[in-house]
Amino acid sequence: MKTDELIGLLGTSFEREPVGTPWMTRRLALAVAVGATAALFLALAFLGLRPGLTQARPLLFLALKVAFAAAVGGLALRYLVRAARPGGESRVHLGVVASPFLAVAALAGVSLSMTPPAHWHGQISGHTWLECLVSIPVIAIVPFAVITWAVRRFGAPTDLLRAGALVGLSAGAVSALGYSLHCMDDTVPFVAVWYGGTIAICTLAGALLGPRLLRW
């Protein structure tokens, strides 16, 4: 086939359809929202809601965890939308993505500095670090699959490593959001290490899988 023929074919196959900037953004945002709903459902169905949510301290820490996960997820979505466009990876700023992690690490540092070193171990590993370490990445599989599908279907990433990392980051963030409803360890260092760490694991897994899964 001659290229002119192809252009004729493509140029006339033109229907008024939803094109333009907001269209893809909305699709990807919807995928992240669906992933978050799935993570919430999985956490509540298999792990259950934590007790004590009528008291101030558990509520405060739930708010902290939700705020951290939502900040990470919001930034991940913002940059995922950019990375899903050809050439858009140059507009992904890793420093900004890292800012919620740095903020929670700083808070954890403050919290530890006000605690005697003998209690640091308990503050950091809490009671359920292993459950957290396993649950967040496992729950993240479902949102990861949904968001990966959406990026393949609606996007066209040209830096698959970075796009994959951002898919993993958003999946990890919404998974942490769901898990926070169950998690009973209420210290800032715990959130910094285990929430931050597991989301980082999800990001790494996404970066490794991106070049295979996101090809188009």
């Binding site: 290229t3 192809l6 140029g11 006339t12 033109f14 333009g20 899903a84 466009r85």
Partner: protein, 184 residues
């Protein structure tokens, strides 16, 4: 260069609003740029113009099927360049020597056939059409190859005009995916 960017951007944004003449002109402007780009890149690794033409067409299809990924607030040249570069890397990876090993015994095949259509791509529109469902094939052949209007094509196929348009749209999407995945 800047002049070119302004022109391409105007054509594409107008095209995306539904002016198919501008959109077609946009694709026509891209063609020569892509051809020069791929010929230059491929000749360095000792590959021929047919491969370059394949890539030109593959990229045009990608631009078409992924046109909604263009952010109208951003320049259009880097967007097209990113697609072109992505398709080049993808192509080189798919066809690297290690994965394209051919047994020595088949050397005789080289002289068994010759090919006078080197300036065309290896895409054969009829061969591709044969892989589509009958409805889509008829609709595309009527409208895109023979150039009938949607109403005429609808009458011939005994379908509604909308159904014909939908068939054409879906069929072209399927064609693009065949082309993108044909050597995978």
């Amino acid at each position: 260069m800047i002049h070119r960017e302004v022109e391409l951007r105007t054509l594409l944004t107008e095209g995306l609003l539904g002016r198919s003449a501008d959109y077609r002109r946009f694709l026509e402007c891209l063609g020569p740029h892509l051809r020069a780009y791929y010929r230059n890149k491929l000749s360095r690794s000792g590959r021929g113009d047919t491969e370059a033409e394949d890539l030109v067409q593959e990229t045009l299809m990608a631009v078409h099927t992924r046109r909604h990924t263009y952010d109208v607030t951003q320049p259009v040249t880097p967007w097209v360049y990113a697609i072109a570069r992505y398709k080049l890397i993808d192509h080189l990876r798919r066809t690297r020597p290690g994965t394209a090993d051919v047994p020595v015994e088949d050397a005789g095949e080289l002289m068994a056939a010759d090919d006078h259509t080197a300036t065309e791509s290896t895409l054969d529109v009829e061969r591709l059409l044969a892989r589509l469902p009958a409805k889509a094939r008829l609709a595309i052949r009527s409208m895109k190859v023979e150039g009938l209007s949607a109403a005429e094509a609808a009458e011939r196929a005994g379908m509604s005009e909308t159904a014909v348009k939908v068939s054409v749209h879906r069929g072209l999407k399927a064609l693009a995916s065949f082309v993108g995945g044909r050597t995978k």
